[in-house]
């Protein structure tokens, strides 16, 4: 029992929680934004991969870190545009289109990466975001090292979560977003163009997903390698359901998830005789469990996955 306590009481654990949660927060918010407008975006895994590559490549070629984040976001928005054109304008299957985007975006990332960065025994690196110290707060005992030694994108992700919660529930734009995802015909009748709302939400959501990917190469690690996203995108899709499509709960869900992940990482060192693969399986199994628990309780946007064409009911 004491080992468990030791783990939970270590500031390192909590610092890791925030670090692990960051890409999930970005990705979950991105997926949530898209789904709130009525469109599932399974392109997330590929878009995160592409964002990781694009952001890293920009910085590797001399851009500063924030420009890298911006490049990632723009590239994500571009894939979002493709997804929107296919699922909103043409009304194609959101499942298959999303998977197609994932396969396309990830293979394209590898292609571009291989093309521009020659094969080397040690992967080239960039100087990533550094932890910043918040005057006063970072010096607090325990709380300081646990919560206030993160890089800026981590804080940004939390700010975006709160901002998104505000926009969704407190602004006309958020109401238009929700109405488009609940009943696009009603939105149209009341002068809100659900097609434009969906395009906007998918593109903005995809930009967030790509930033989540870029966090991996520009903050959590300092290099890009294929398959580095490791299913984080799919976990985000599960987290959206777990969060019942609410931004605040998405933030909470990502943190909770990251807590389990960080905890099991530390547990591995303690329980040396258990195969490490068991621990690595945990995030995926946890996600599945979360889905099973929440799927029926969550209030699904009523028009999710239903294509909208003007005049067609």
């Amino acid at each position: 029992m004491s080992t468990f306590f030791d783990i939970v009481a270590s500031a390192g654990l909590w610092a890791a929680v925030l670090r692990i949660a960051t890409p999930l927060i970005f990705g979950t918010l991105g997926a949530l934004l898209s789904e709130r407008s009525g469109v599932l975006n399974l392109g997330i895994e590929g878009i995160m991969t592409f964002g990781a590559m694009a952001g890293w490549l920009a910085v590797f070629n001399g851009a500063d870190l924030w420009t890298g984040m911006l490049v990632a976001a723009l590239s994500g928005a571009l894939f979002g545009l493709v997804h929107a054109a296919m699922t909103v304008t043409l009304g194609l299957s959101q499942h298959v289109t999303g998977l197609g985007i994932t396969l396309f975006a990830s293979s394209l990332s590898y292609y571009i990466f291989r093309l521009t960065v020659p094969l080397a025994s040690t992967p080239p690196t960039v100087t990533p975001f550094q932890p910043i110290s918040v005057p006063g707060l970072s010096d607090l005992p325990f709380v300081g090292p646990a919560l206030f030694t993160q890089t800026l994108p981590t804080y940004l992700s939390i700010v975006i979560a709160l901002l998104l919660a505000y926009v969704v529930y407190r602004t006309p734009l958020g109401l238009a977003l929700r109405m488009s995802g609940e009943n696009p015909h009603a939105a149209e009748a009341q002068g809100v163009d659900p097609v434009r709302v969906r395009y906007g939400a998918i593109m903005a959501g995809s930009a967030l997903m790509a930033m989540g990917g870029a966090f991996l190469t520009l903050s959590a690690f300092n290099s890009f390698f294929p398959t580095m996203v490791q299913g984080r995108g799919w976990i985000c899709i599960a987290l959206v359901v777990f969060a019942s499509w609410r931004p605040g709960r998405a933030l909470f869900g990502a943190l909770l998830f990251a807590f389990f992940d960080a905890f099991q990482l530390r547990l591995q060192t303690v329980l040396g005789n258990v195969p490490y693969q068991i621990f690595l399986m945990m995030p995926y199994i946890l996600s599945i469990a979360a889905l099973a628990v929440m799927a029926r309780r969550a209030r699904v946007p009523q028009a999710l996955m239903q294509p909208y064409r003007r005049g067609e009911r």
Binding site: P172, R178, A187, Q190, V192
Partner: protein, 529 residues
């Protein structure tokens, strides 16, 4: 305030024509609406009412003609412009989001999209004041999905009023309401007219038109057939104007009721945890049609699900051919020779992307005629479909063409054909003519009468009162999941049926019954074996 149409009209539709391919939906229609006036647009299905209102509201662009509000012409095809000019529309099918609150439903689209904050409290105040002014009480923070249909309609009206509508158009507003809710709605509408709003309501019900409207415009075949002040006309005249000539509905010969083939006693059905049918009693006899009337949403769907084999009762007893059964399942029903016409042709009755022959045999695919050891006998299936197409006059398809391409009437003939071809002992017909044109309606009715003549026991569940009167031998009303006692069709008159449908019998015991004893005849059945 008294309607004053001599002053400049607030709304003017002038010479509107609209064609859809070869179909002329609106032909040179002109209508003017005065301030404070309550106008009824009366017409049968297909008379062009909804098309006209869709043009007014900017959903369709007319081929000819103009729409003027306060003398200013509205641009065509711009719902936004209509809203801005003060036109509000309450559709028959609500455009609401069940997961959002009443206030959120009303507020959507009313503020600049990019403003940094929703002015929720101001909006709530405005909504409440409008609600109070017209007696449209509703909780702004209630989740819409938790409201009754009548309350949801109030939200639709509030939505229009919130957008400062001065002209309100209601498309078949009473179609989904109970009598009491409808009465309450018209009180509200009259109050709104008194306060200076101008209203048009679309209807095909003579009673409500006579009771509520100041003036009545009758549409027939896309043209204005007549225009009358309510005070200067009567139902008989309106009926004649509305119908013009009429495809005759089949007349029926008296039933020769045989043995009881199905009997339900104190049957209760819960679907999704909600009690949809409560202790209902009814029975079916050979060669006789039982008609179930009622306002939409009172349990008809549950009854068709139960009888279609899709829902099991949670209480009570059923006897099929005299034998007690605990539940009907699709397989057993099909095997027992029970035909089923589903409520929703497109969703339940056929699989549009499959071929006609596949749809013709799907429910009987396990029978030796159509498959052996799991291998489908395609030629037998196609031959069967060809027979149905031939005998039931299904037009527009061959056995191997896709079912989606059939018109509604022909799809219904296909469904009838696959059921009636085998001379079913029982036929469950749920809303068999919903959405069909007159010609198809007549064909369906003839088939149902024909089946009854040949000894089939028919259960007809329909919201079309005329249909039930025309086909049924006994009539029961369904209200809030309960069934009234049966009355004989000969005793049915509109007043009595109206009372039955409004549920007046639920408070007292049962409607006094002159000709039919309440209990079913208890004899065993010759088919029971």
């Amino acid at each position: 305030m008294i309607a004053d149409t001599t002053a400049a009209p607030v709304l003017e539709l002038a010479h509107i024509s609209k064609r859809f391919g070869p179909i002329v939906a609106n032909d040179d229609i002109s209508i003017a609406l005065g301030r404070g006036e309550l106008l009824a647009l009366l017409g049968e299905n297909g008379a062009g009412k909804t098309t006209l209102m869709s043009i007014l509201f900017g959903h369709y662009t007319p081929d000819e003609g103009t729409v003027r509000v306060d003398g200013v012409e509205l641009p065509h095809g711009r719902p936004r412009a209509a809203i801005k000019a003060g036109v509000g529309m309450v559709h028959q099918h609500f455009s609401l989001a069940p997961n959002l609150t009443v206030l959120e439903n009303v507020m959507t689209g009313t503020e600049p999209l990019w403003s940094p904050r929703s002015r929720t409290s101001a909006a709530r105040r405005k909504l409440l004041s409008i609600a109070e002014r017209f007696g449209l009480g509703v909780d702004p923070d209630a989740r819409l999905g938790d409201l009754s249909v009548g309350e949801q309609q109030r939200v639709e009206i509030l939505k229009a009023l919130y957008n400062d509508a001065r002209i309100l158009i209601l498309d078949e507003p009473t179609a989904v309401l109970t009598n009491i809710e409808a009465e309450r709605l018209f009180t509200t509408l009259r109050e709104m007219a008194r306060q200076g709003l101008s209203l048009i309501f679309i209807s095909h019900k003579l009673d409500e038109v006579m009771a509520a409207a100041d003036r009545i415009v009758v549409l027939r075949g896309g043209r204005v057939a007549a225009e009358r002040r309510a005070a200067e006309t009567n139902k008989a005249e309106l009926a004649e104007l509305m119908v013009g000539h009429r495809v005759t509905r089949p007349t029926r010969e008296p039933a020769k009721a045989g043995a009881t083939v199905f009997q339900a006693s104190r049957l209760t059905v819960s679907i999704g945890g909600v009690e949809r049918l409560k202790e209902i009693d009814f029975f079916l006899r050979e060669g006789e049609t039982l008609g179930i009337i009622g306002v939409s949403g009172n349990g008809q769907a549950a009854l068709s699900q139960l009888m279609g084999g899709l829902a099991a009762p949670t209480g009570g007893e059923m006897r099929l051919f005299g034998e007690p059964v605990s539940a009907l399942d699709v397989h057993d029903l099909v095997e027992a020779g029970i035909g089923r016409i589903p409520e929703d042709r497109h969703r339940q009755g056929a699989i549009g992307e499959m071929t006609i022959w596949e749809n013709a045999v799907l429910e009987r695919i396990r029978q030796p005629l159509f498959s052996r050891r799991g291998i489908v006998n395609r030629s037998a299936g196609q031959a069967f479909a060809a027979t149905i197409i031939e005998e039931f006059d299904v037009r527009g398809g061959t056995p191997t063409s896709r079912t989606r391409l059939l018109s509604g009437g022909n799809m219904q003939k296909l469904i009838l054909g696959r059921n009636l071809y085998r001379r079913p002992k029982i036929l469950i017909a749920a809303q068999p003519t919903r959405g069909l044109d007159e010609g198809a309606v007549a064909a369906v009715h003839a088939r149902i009468l024909d089946a009854r003549r040949q000894g089939t026991a028919v259960l007809l569940i329909s919201e079309d009162l005329d249909e039930v009167i025309g086909l049924a031998d006994r009539i029961q009303a369904i209200v809030k999941g309960r069934l009234s006692a049966p009355i004989a069709a000969e005793d049915a008159d509109p007043r009595r049926l109206g009372l039955m449908m409004s549920g007046d019998w639920t408070s007292s015991d049962r409607t006094p019954n002159d000709r039919i004893s309440d209990g079913p005849p208890g004899e065993g059945h010759p088919h029971a074996s």
